[in-house]
């Protein structure tokens, strides 16, 4: 990866989430989304948060990204307070989000999308940005589609371009919100390669356990709403990883541990749903 070598990257991107709670209060109906949630994410760690749908994972991600505030606690990035109860974080290019359904701008070509960050941030000429983007794309095996619009490439390809667009800004943290829903396994390999080369801190949200263990170094299993951490799993599978991991004994053991923890939560969620319906 051209953008920053491993040593400089891993000195950035340490996230501390301390006793964070979030209450949604639309029309006075208080909904507790996250309660007293704490995480210490080391710089350069691939952290995956797993939990049932609607449990408040995205709430946490949005707070880090600066899309909304939190009700209690604080979140720090590299020792600096990012947000607390009184102050919402400002969105910035040090924490780039890759969205659940993708957010490449349909009206820009692939190249225009990838250069978007450097161009709006300034300090670099358009030509430099284009050259950098071309280099980035070809490093990631995405050459030949620069002038295509997002609608002209496959959804897996789109997601890769979006990761390239994020990496162009040399962010401290990559925030990924269930980015690979209904996409093929190759995209996972793609992200693993990007991670191995860049050693960026990754905050990855999913409801898919297998995906979590396959990708992550640390897996945080969340409870149902209000979300807090139920179990933390250290995934000791060595990197670089590829599909062979999926049949290794340590993967299967971790998966089993995980499933038990999550199943319990799913049952609780189901019971809670039943109660709400009644």
């Amino acid at each position: 990866m051209k953008t920053g070598d491993a040593s400089s990257s891993s000195s950035r991107g340490q996230i501390s989430i301390r006793n964070v709670s979030k209450v949604y209060d639309p029309d006075g109906a208080k909904v507790l989304a996250v309660i007293d949630c704490s995480m210490e994410i080391k710089a350069g760690e691939f952290c995956v948060v797993v939990g049932p749908s609607g449990c408040g994972k995205t709430t946490l991600l949005n707070a880090i990204a600066g899309f909304h505030g939190i009700t209690a606690g604080e979140i720090l990035l590299d020792g600096q307070v990012l947000c607390n109860a009184s102050q919402q974080a400002a969105p910035g290019s040090d924490r780039i989000v890759v969205f659940q359904n993708g957010a490449l701008f349909p009206w820009f070509t692939v190249l225009e999308n990838v250069t978007f960050g450097p161009v709006v941030q300034g300090g670099i000429s358009d030509k430099q940005a284009r050259d950098k983007a071309r280099a980035m794309l070809s490093q990631m095996g995405l050459q030949g589609i620069e002038n295509n619009y997002p609608s002209e490439i496959s959804s897996g390809m789109r997601r890769r371009v979006e990761i390239a667009r994020a990496m162009m800004n040399d962010p401290s943290v990559l925030l990924l919100d269930e980015p690979f829903r209904a996409l093929d396994a190759l995209v996972h390999q793609f992200l693993l390669d990007v991670y191995d080369k860049s050693k960026k801190t990754i905050f990855f949200i999913t409801h898919d356990l297998e995906e979590a263990i396959f990708l992550g170094s640390k897996v945080y299993i969340m409870t149902t709403r209000p979300a807090k951490i139920k179990t933390i799993l250290d995934v000791d599978i060595p990197r670089p990883r590829d599909f062979r991991v999926l049949s290794s004994s340590s993967y299967i053991r971790l998966k089993k541990e995980c499933i038990e923890a999550v199943h319990e939560e799913a049952l609780k969620a189901f019971a809670a749903g039943e109660r709400e319906m009644a």
Partner: protein, 268 residues
């Protein structure tokens, strides 16, 4: 992947389209329609038989095509259409964007807008004739109204339905407010602007023709009405068809512009 977005014109595709079964069927349909129309007239079928037959229309058309006043009617209508339409875009697009993006502006302006909007443009003709110094200006004003409300309404809808993900992504990538407007909101709204223009152009023709019949001394609408008054029936049909062709040309122009400014919506 081979279909690059910025390639030259596709001649093979055009050829295929022109010499297609659909084209032949279309031509056949027009011939059958013309023959039926001629027969209705010759056989004195009640009501439809009163319409001048294609043969006499064609004969009259031959005279019109070399007549200066016929083309002057085209020109007059087009000047009204294009002026009114262009001014509607100049005012409508910024206003629509403002209303779509800014809640305060929406709260303040929308009520008045909503009171004015349901008034059919033609209901404005009398007052327009009174307050504009010339009939020409009043025609253009009424044409302007026809396109204006449609354009604004479409843009407000488009601007308000922008997916929040795009805005968040742009923020996250370090955009300023100006970047968000120019690089996200405006392009995201362009498809709605094109729709507004397309619909607006249709309304504009309907409005100008009727307005010309009521209050003008020139234009294709006037030509049609005048032919009725003078009892030159084939010319009525020529007037009608000219309006149809003129409307079609205008729509084609808008489509062309629309495809130009929203290239990402082109499907191959």
């Amino acid at each position: 992947m081979a279909t690059g977005s910025k390639q030259g014109f596709n001649w093979v595709k055009l050829k295929k389209q022109v010499f297609s079964r659909t084209t032949y069927r279309g031509i056949l349909a027009i011939i059958v329609f013309t023959v039926l129309w001629e027969m209705c007239s010759r056989l004195q079928v009640p009501i439809v038989g009163n319409v001048p037959p294609p043969s006499s229309v064609l004969k009259a058309l031959g005279q019109q095509l070399v007549s200066k006043s016929y083309w002057a009617s085209w020109l007059d209508s087009y000047v009204r259409i294009l002026t009114g339409f262009a001014i509607a875009q100049v005012f409508g697009i910024p206003l629509g964007l403002l209303l779509g993006v800014n809640k305060k502006a929406r709260d303040l302006i929308y009520p008045v807008f909503e009171i004015m909007r349901p008034i059919p443009p033609l209901a404005w003709v009398p007052i327009a004739v009174i307050f504009w110094p010339t009939t020409e200006l009043s025609m253009m004003f009424v044409t302007f109204l026809g396109a204006f409300f449609t354009v604004v309404l479409n843009i407000v809808g488009g601007a308000r339905s922008i997916d929040v993900r795009y805005i968040r992504a742009a923020h996250s990538l370090g955009s300023t407010r100006a970047d968000i407007f120019w690089k996200v909101m405006l392009p995201a709204t362009l498809p709605s602007i094109v729709v507004g223009m397309t619909v607006g152009m249709g309304i504009t023709w309907a409005v100008v023709v009727a307005a010309e019949m009521i209050a003008s001394r020139s234009g294709l609408g006037f030509l049609t009405w005048q032919s009725y008054v003078a009892g030159v029936y084939p010319l009525i049909v020529i007037g009608m068809m000219s309006i149809g062709v003129a409307g079609y040309i205008s729509s084609a122009m808008i489509r062309l512009i629309g495809r130009r400014i929203t290239p990402w919506l082109r499907t191959y």
